[in-house]
């Protein structure tokens, strides 16, 4: 079973099942983590699904769209490995993907 590793705001690491075809935001939400708001439900309108991706794993992900890039700019916590988790669709090739939930703005 492919795994998604989620680090919550308190620094704890959790391993959850990665579901192919599902946005990472939904996998995080469906595992009951409250640290992430994901207010717009993946409509690419809120940037409250902000995560940091394992730096060596960035290359595994498709490039971000211009919209995602702009929305990430709204966060004062943006880093080089920032992504919107609603824009990353999980698949088998992402087994072991490690995302850290970014602090809220």
């Amino acid at each position: 079973m492919p795994t998604l590793i989620v680090t919550t705001l308190d620094g704890t690491e959790h391993r959850v099942e990665g579901v192919t075809g599902r946005p990472v935001m939904e996998i995080i939400r469906d595992n009951g983590f409250t640290d992430m708001l994901a207010l717009c439900g993946g409509a690419r309108s809120c940037a409250t699904c902000h995560v940091y991706v394992g730096p060596d794993q960035l290359a595994l992900l498709p490039d971000m769209s211009e919209d995602e890039n702009e929305l990430l700019d709204s966060s004062s916590h943006r880093k080089i490995n920032s992504r919107l988790s609603c824009q990353i669709v999980f698949n088998g090739a992402l087994d072991g993907l490690h995302v850290t939930i970014a602090p809220e703005d």
Partner: protein, 410 residues
């Protein structure tokens, strides 16, 4: 002995669910119950006129939290249960014949869709769009419908029209005013969306008055306008706004005329009774201090946070910046601030390119942006709205100026 909880939340929608989750996230260890009249656990409402209606997302993907979340967090979720009365003296609510006590009460009951009163309003095939049940009814009707009439050209009506037309239905939108989105946006945005819908084959009728709905064997067969014209259809979608669900609160003595009045901490005039979300009439700093109700996910979530902070003894006034989105066809509208009552606007970018923004002013200050396929403006315009900036119109219209550079230069 009646049951009692430290916090009782009435309504398991966006606001109620977020309030319960936040209480636990903040370490609150008291007892918490959500009493909601819908049969489902809390779910997202926006997809009901978008991806859920279009069949692009199944129901489980629009749950606000996984089904086990509530019991895992020790939150009692009483679904299918309607609160009919509140007694502020005994601190109890009445629901399904039970009396349930509360320490604090958070009223997050949203609103009920306004219904038509004209002849034919009760025919089968006259639907509203507020709940999963509503969306399911529309989905079920989809197969046997060739033509639909949408009453009301607000966001929800237009989103439903976009989905219906995508499914090949002949759609007519009846708007009583002289433009769609008249209540929530400026004229350029209205005209743009009218043109887009027309380009998709939707018949947009402005200044249109519905006289009655015609039926055959108890089901809708047409909509008749005031001028006598009959538009044949098998489905009438009514999107003419909501009536806030506050009757038990008002009956218990809470102040309010349009919804229930709350202060900056989401407190009603009843002791330890809070109200949040669509039903809460609050003084909004983005509306020059006018008392308004806001119907948005942003407002429901941020007011949930405000009420929870107050209950936990760390009060902070509600000052959140309003934002909203609407998806129709391939158009992504994102709005910031509140354009109601604007006295001027500037169009930034060319609507013909299908990527532009409308920037609204009140008394010379920027109060809102409507951004169509223009996420950069949406992100960068936030500071202008929050500052109530007074940027020169020509400079803001010039798309070679980034909005983020205009604040410091203002």
């Amino acid at each position: 002995m009646p049951r009692a909880y430290d916090v009782v939340i009435v309504g398991g929608g966006h606001g109620g669910a977020q309030a319960a989750a936040l209480l636990r996230q903040s370490g609150f260890e008291g007892t918490v119950a959500i009493i909601g009249d819908e049969p489902e656990p809390p779910y997202e409402r926006p997809p009901l006129s978008k991806e859920y209606l279009a069949g692009e997302k199944p129901f489980d993907r629009i749950l606000l939290r996984p089904r086990v979340f509530w019991s895992d967090r020790g939150i009692e979720l009483l679904t299918g249960t309607r609160v009919t009365a509140i007694d502020p003296l005994t601190r109890t609510v009445a629901a399904n014949g039970d009396t349930i006590g509360y320490g604090h009460l958070i009223w997050a009951a949203g609103g009920q869709p306004r219904r038509l009163s004209c002849e034919g309003h009760a025919l089968a095939g006259v639907l509203t769009v507020r709940t999963k049940a509503d969306a399911d009814a529309m989905k079920a009707a989809m197969d046997r419908v060739d033509a639909a009439v949408v009453v009301g050209g607000g966001y929800i009506g237009l989103e439903a029209a976009a989905v219906l037309s995508k499914f090949g239905k002949k759609v007519t939108v009846l708007e009583a005013q002289s433009r769609v989105l008249a209540r929530v946006a400026g004229e350029p945005l209205s005209r743009f969306y009218e043109a887009e819908h027309r380009a998709h084959g939707v018949d947009i009728r402005l200044n249109a008055q519905l006289r009655r709905i015609l039926g055959t064997d108890g089901s809708v067969s047409g909509a008749q306008l005031a001028d006598g014209e009959v538009i044949p259809c098998q489905l009438v979608v009514v999107g003419i706004g909501i009536l806030p669900s506050v009757a038990p609160l008002i009956a218990a003595g809470a102040a309010g005329t349009n919804g229930v009045d709350v202060d900056a901490y989401c407190r009603t005039s009843l002791p330890d009774v809070y109200a949040i979300g669509d039903c809460a009439a609050h003084v909004n700093m983005y509306m020059d201090g006018q008392r308004i109700r806001l119907e948005s996910v942003q407002n429901a979530n941020d007011q949930a946070a405000t009420a929870v902070k107050a209950i936990l003894g760390t009060p902070a006034p509600y000052t959140a910046t309003p934002w909203f989105w609407s998806n129709q066809y391939d158009l992504r509208l994102q709005t910031l601030g509140l354009s109601t009552g604007h006295d001027d606007f500037v169009i930034r970018g060319d609507p013909a390119t299908r990527s532009f923004s409308v920037i609204y002013f009140r008394g010379g200050r920027i109060v809102a942006l409507d951004c169509v396929n223009a996420t950069r403006d949406y992100v960068q315009g936030r500071k202008l709205v929050e500052a109530g900036a007074t940027v020169d119109r020509a400079r803001i219209a010039d798309t070679t100026n980034a909005l983020k550079d205009l604040l410091t230069a203002a």
